[in-house]
């Protein structure tokens, strides 16, 4: 059972953009897609540590700003020829608010 944390209003995240949540073990990127869905992923590309939140959001993918690796926001898995994945966290919209699974607080401690 997921416990949810209310992070912000949906409008605080630009459409086709991202904002960051700071946690004790690094940043989590919160993406908002063109069709108003939200996704939470580690803000760190497995390739060279690029901040994914600064990439371009298209469809349900994010392209890393440093070397153009492309990740599926649903699964966190790198697309095409690149091999790697980014941790994903539950995220949803409720009443115009963005909620994220509370595990982002305790991530890695729990693992």
């Amino acid at each position: 059972m997921t416990n949810w944390i209310d992070i912000a209003a949906l409008d605080d995240i630009p459409q086709q953009g991202a904002r960051l949540i700071r946690t004790r073990t690094g940043c989590v990127a919160l993406f908002r897609t063109h069709d108003d869905r939200v996704f939470a992923l580690d803000d760190r590309c497995p390739h060279k540590g690029g901040p994914l939140s600064e990439g371009i959001v298209a469809g349900h993918t994010i392209t890393c700003p440093l070397h153009n690796w492309v990740f599926d926001l649903n699964t966190g898995i790198a697309q095409g020829a690149d091999d790697g994945s980014v941790a994903t966290y539950p995220a949803k919209i409720e009443n115009g608010r963005v909620l994220v699974g509370s595990e982002i607080i305790a991530r890695r401690h729990a693992a």
């Binding site: 949540i21 869905r37 600064e54």
Partner: protein, 812 residues
Amino acid sequence: MMTAPKERLVVIGAGMASGRMLEVLTDAGAPYDITLFNAEPRGNYNRIMLSPVLSGEKTYEEIVTHDDAWYAERGITTRFGEHIVKIDRKAKVVTGQHGDLPYDKLVIATGSAPFMIPVVGRDLPGVIAYRDLDDTNTMIAAARPGAEAVVIGGGLLGLEAAAGLQMRGMKVTVIHIMGHLMERQLDPSAGYLLQKALEARGIKVHCKGATKAIMGEDRAEAVLLEDGTVYGADLVVMAVGIRPETRLANDAGIEVERGITVNDQLRTSDPSIYALGECVEHDKQLFGLVAPLYDQAKVLAAELLGQASAFQPVQTATKLKVTGCDLFSAGDFADGEGREDIVFRDPGRGIYKRLVLEGDRLVGAVMYGDTADGNWFFGLIKDQTDVSAMRETLIFGPAFQGGGSVDPMAAVAALPPDAEICGCNGVCKGKIMEAVAGGADSLDKVRATTKASASCGTCTGLVSQVMALTLGGAVQTKDCMCGCTDLTHEDVRRLIKAKGLKSMPAVMQECGWTTPDGCAKCRPALNFYLLADWPLDYRDDRQARFVNERNHANIQKDGTYSVVPRMWGGVTTPAELRAIADAAEKYNVPMVKVTGGQRIDLLGVRKEDLPAMWADLNDAGMVSGHAYSKGLRTVKTCVGTEFCRFGTQDSTGLGIRLEKLLWGSWTPHKVKLGVSGCPRNCAEATCKDVGIVCVDSGYQISVSGAAGMEVKETEALVTVPTEDEAVEWTAAFIQLYRENARYLDRAWKWTARVGLDWVKDHLSDPENRQALNERFELSQSVYRKDPWAEHAKPGARDEFSPLADCRLEAAE
């Protein structure tokens, strides 16, 4: 369960849901003594048909569903025009304005209230909501031909209001806060087509418009937007949304969340009280469309008759009731894991269809222009039909079922599979063949799956040959823009101009994009093309920009940024240097470095510090150096006649003049200039995009140099006698480059594609040069401004900081 004497049933609200419930209940010979309250001084009418009443296509009498005779015939006591003041649950009594009435069972069907955005001026006469017949009559009374109306809200209701007012002869503007109309029902492509259709009818549409205030002395006169736009308005209609009307229930202490919470039997937290319609919340869901409300009505009637029944919300479909706008949407059309799109676009006929599949099922459909098959698709969605067998032809509708599929597999090529084709990424031929066999039938797809030819690109020809062999010659070698389209950059630029495409959804629709919102490759390119071609109409889309341009600083490998203030022509002052030093210390800048472009780079700045640092530099009179942009970077100069004993002209002054003219402009790739005061060329002008070397008789202008991966001397363009002409030619060259080059082609690459003679031909005509200068100046009227100042404004800084900090919570 029910026994005589009759129980007393009180219904609050005579809307469509309660009307349907009463129909079903009384048809079954309701064993109740029914009293119906309504705040409006009339009974039930078809609210959905208010927009034809507004437009004059129907009268109120035609949309009445229950008249006085109907209520009398069914034995329903009506108390219309009377508000309920209070519900006493203990005594089971409702208090109306004209007296109390006891109940055994109570139905709350208070519907919804329009949401009025809390801006200054919303209480002025002439500002109304669009909800009921009285609102409609107010609008009809105000609708003088030629008068101006502003409708705030581009959803279903707002657009119907806009169309109705327009049909009554008003000049209508729709202001919508989102990027496209009806965003809850439509995706951006369909929203774009709708906007186009409305605009063709004379309705102005302003998307991404946030209302700041409604202005007027005694009554509404104009609407002011956050971006400063003002629209005159004799009438302002707010149609931004509705919220459940729950005040009575709240006061009575019944459980209310967003709406009055009900169970599957529409029962509230009080077992004697039911709720129905737009005021309820069922399973965390609210309801605004009529179909589920009618379902609720049937369930509640059954419940009141003592029959078992349960409300289950069903999929709903939407159609817009605006004559001439044919659109349909049903189901869930958001992208999602395991979901696939089938997109059909026929730009010539203005048709767009998108089906969303999840596995073997159709889960959503959006259609514009041709909605004849809408109900067939809606049926497939509702019934969860397995559509895998007809997938190939599904989008063509029921008439086309039964087509065969095509197998693109071809003969295997004869080259050794372990031969390395792409040196950069170490891709051998076998891997490319695998990718092609796996469905990568275009160069772009092969690049995406194998990375072959994705870096330096010199093996592109070789990769195409391998593909051609593998595919038996059926390879698409056209150099398309990206995986979203088969068109080349040149095709797209031509179409943007020829068809007057002024927004990203417009381009994607008219050019037949295969993805809903493009990709990281085409979006930045389209953003540039649109802003270069339509500087006044198109607004720069930050989310379509690479990180550096979005954040107006250069990202470094550790995620910090570098900040480079502009130094006009490489000239600075002690005061500027002091301000730079202060900023470096204040923000703990780990490295201060002099750049090759004659300015100072502050490296290692944290993103959240950027706006404050910019504000400090702004205060000292400095602006962004655009060291991050595909735009004008630097104008490198030598000291020229000011100080140098060899100088022939004021090269420093010319460099500063050029930089002040060109700064802020966006170009296909970066643009660097150099101005040297004599042929000794201390400013290294002859390896720049535009280089000017001053000589005794004037100015030698040369273009298309390079000093990066490629090193290339500039080629002579022209020699002119005066500084004014040098400036005119330079701006004309840059505008020609802006208008014609591919995104990410440096000037030298572009001139190599089109030929320098073509460029010279265009620029040698004085009229043409003049026109290019005028178009450049028009664009600069928008873009010659400091982006740092924009983003350093207190209200604009948020996006540079994290949204939330969960570190403390973790420590607890």
